[in-house]
Each structure stands twice: as structure tokens, then as C-alpha cells.
Symmetry: C2
Subunit: 205 residues, 2 copies
């Protein structure tokens, strides 16, 4: 709804159309959801893809533990209920970002299939692309990498409910992209994701 007033400025009582922002950005918004074990390489892949996209003039943004767990979700812990609410909120934020036209990477262990499927469903209901990327790596390989010493702490019983050690990880049943992180470099993995985005014509408006 809009009406023109004397000053030649039209009032608006509704949002800018999604397509108008997409045209401005020469891209379509989408959520690229990276799921996998701790130390599987999710965030390095997401950051690498973000850099590649921004360097080529696309607007991309990474939601990850750093900017979510210390902010929006600082009042949540790691119980199953809190993990579910954590993923629900992140999914809603990603949806808003995608609606705004941003290529939005969400890099979270997100171990429960039902939680990820709720986010997928919310995107579908909003008519927004949801691309689930399973960053697959064995617990053994992740535990060898262990850059933050988390597996070590978990094995010592200092981190309760640690995914892959003392809490389950439920593999995606039909992810849009599978990255074999035992074999692929983060650069190759990021390229593969960008190819997928191009295939969906997300990098044009």
C-alpha cells in the first residue's frame, strides 16, 4: 500500500519487495547451513566461501558460534532443549538475512535432524532457499585436529554433552551438498558450495 503526499514522497505501509532488494544486490538471498562435528571444518569453509563471494562483489555473511553464542543466544546452554532453541533462533535470523538478500552461512554443529528440519521447513514456508551442507568428517579425524582442545576435555569428562563423544550427532538424510572433509581442502569445499549456488542461479537476480 502506498499513497503520494504533497512533498512528493510516497508513504509505505509494507516492506520493500524481496525482488527489489535482489535486483539491487544482483543476487538472491539464501541460507547455506553447514552442519557437522566440532573441528570438521565448517567455519573455515564458511569463512572461505564468504571471502570468495565478497571479493567477487556478492554480499555474504557468516553466522557462527562467535557472533551468536556471545550475543543473541548467550542465555542458552547445551541441554537438548537449549540446543533446539539455539538452532530455532539461528534459523529465524538466517531467514531474515536471506529475506534481506544476503547469502547467509550458518555454521553450527546442529546435531539434531529434527532441529535442522524445522529450519528447512521455516525457509520453505517463507519461499527462501535452504541449502543443507553436511561437512562429513570422522570423529577420529576431528579428534586428531582438535584445534581448541575440546575433544580432549570431553574425553576427560570436563565437557558434558559433547557431540560425537557424549552426545549424538544425527547425520543429514538428504543434504543438498556433502563435503568429505577428511579429503577436501576448505578451499575446494568452498568452491563446491559456490558451484552449487551458481547452479541454483542465486548469484544473479
Amino acid at each position: 500500500m502506498s499513497k503520494t503526499v504533497a512533498a512528493n514522497i510516497t508513504w509505505h505501509e509494507g516492506h520493500v519487495e524481496r525482488a527489489q532488494r535482489y535486483a539491487l544486490l544482483r543476487q538472491r538471498g539464501a541460507t547455506i547451513w553447514l552442519t557437522g562435528l566440532s573441528a570438521s571444518g565448517k567455519s573455515t569453509i564458511a569463512f572461505t566461501a564468504e571471502h570468495l563471494l565478497v571479493e567477487s562483489g556478492r554480499l555474504a555473511y557468516v553466522l557462527d558460534g562467535d557472533n551468536i553464542r556471545h550475543g543473541l543466544n548467550r542465555n542458552l546452554g547445551f541441554s537438548p532443549e537449549d540446543r533446539t532453541e539455539n538452532i530455532r533462533r539461528i534459523g529465524e535470523v538466517a531467514k531474515l538475512f536471506a529475506d534481506a538478500g544476503v547469502l547467509t552461512f550458518a555454521s553450527f554443529i546442529s546435531p539434531y535432524r529434527a532441529d535442522r528440519d524445522l529450519v528447512r521447513g521455516a525457509h520453505r514456508a517463507a519461499g527462501l532457499p535452504f541449502i543443507e551442507v553436511y561437512v562429513r568428517a570422522s570423529v577420529e579425524v576431528c579428534e586428531q585436529r582438535d584445534p581448541k582442545g575440546l575433544y580432549k576435555k570431553a574425553r576427560a569428562g570436563q565437557l558434558p554433552e559433547f557431540t560425537g563423544v557424549s552426545a549424538p550427532y544425527e547425520e543429514p538424510l538428504s543434504p543438498e551438498v556433502v563435503i568429505d572433509s577428511n579429503r577436501l581442502t576448505p578451499g575446494d569445499a568452498a568452491s563446491r558450495i559456490l558451484d552449487y549456488l551458481r547452479g541454483l542461479s542465486l548469484l544473479t537476480a
Copy 2:
């Protein structure tokens, strides 16, 4: 941190710099927070500003009751505690949007000064502009407008804790912009906000 690999793709273990996204968008991210009574005109002003910005090639986005209360904050009610958590979450999301380079309008009654000040503080800590816009209108004028019949319901006791009727509204003490909504059209109000953004050099990178 980054390192180059064989395929000539550099890995990244950190976010794209804020300035890089700002250069891409030819603007700087910011949160423009509109506070005021129900029916004061906040959302019409925000939507009008959003349209003006996007039509001139800027990326703007409005967070409002529609896209927040049915999504991210659907598990919150209207008690003082829930209102505080509502505003906290919205503030965190606005911060993420501003960090991504978006001119982000948040249009919420946000009646408590302390809640708004927490959002301001979170932006300051993150080095992001927070522009508080007080959309001032008397309860009488808002009650005459009453486009959704909410004041009528509140007076009939059907809406408990309704701001301005049965719950307090705490005016901002030093907002960046004051809009006298009893006198200004939404178009003029939106123009005034855009002038303020230009004054801060937010519409160039």
C-alpha cells in the same frame, strides 16, 4: 588469518572485514531504532525510509512486529521480562544486520528506557552506530488513529499491559532524532531520518 593452497584459493579462518562489505555496498551499516506508542506511525515511517533508500540503491531492511513476533520471538509474551528479552533479541539481530552492512530499521514500541539503553550499549561495544528515533505522539492522537482497534480493546480491558493505557511508556532522554508525529507526515519524517544518516556519512563507504 589466511593461507594459500594449491588450487589458488586462500583459506580463511575469520570473518570478512566490516569495511570490505561496506565498500561493496557503498554504505555503512547502522541500526535506526524507532520507539513510540502503538499507532504513533513508527512502521509507516520505517517502511517509507526503507523504500526511499532501496530506490536510491541502498540496502535497507525493517525489523518489525510482523517478521519478529511470528518468528524469532514467537515464544515470548508481553510481561515486563518477556518485553525485555524481546528487545534484547531484536537488538542483537539488528547488530548482526548492521555488522553485515545493512541500514537496519527496528520498529518496536520498546517502552522501557533500560531495554533500549542495553541495545545502545551493545552497539557501542561493537563499534556500530545506533540511532534512536523517538516517534512522539500523544496517547490521544494514537487512540484516535487506532488502525487495529487495539486501544479500544485495551480500554475494554481485553489487552492487559497495553503501553500508554495500562503499562508505562518511558520517553527517551536523549534520542538522536525526535519526530513529532502529531504534525509531520510519514514522508517528512522519513526524509528527516535520511538527512540524519547523510549527516553521519552512512550513505557512503
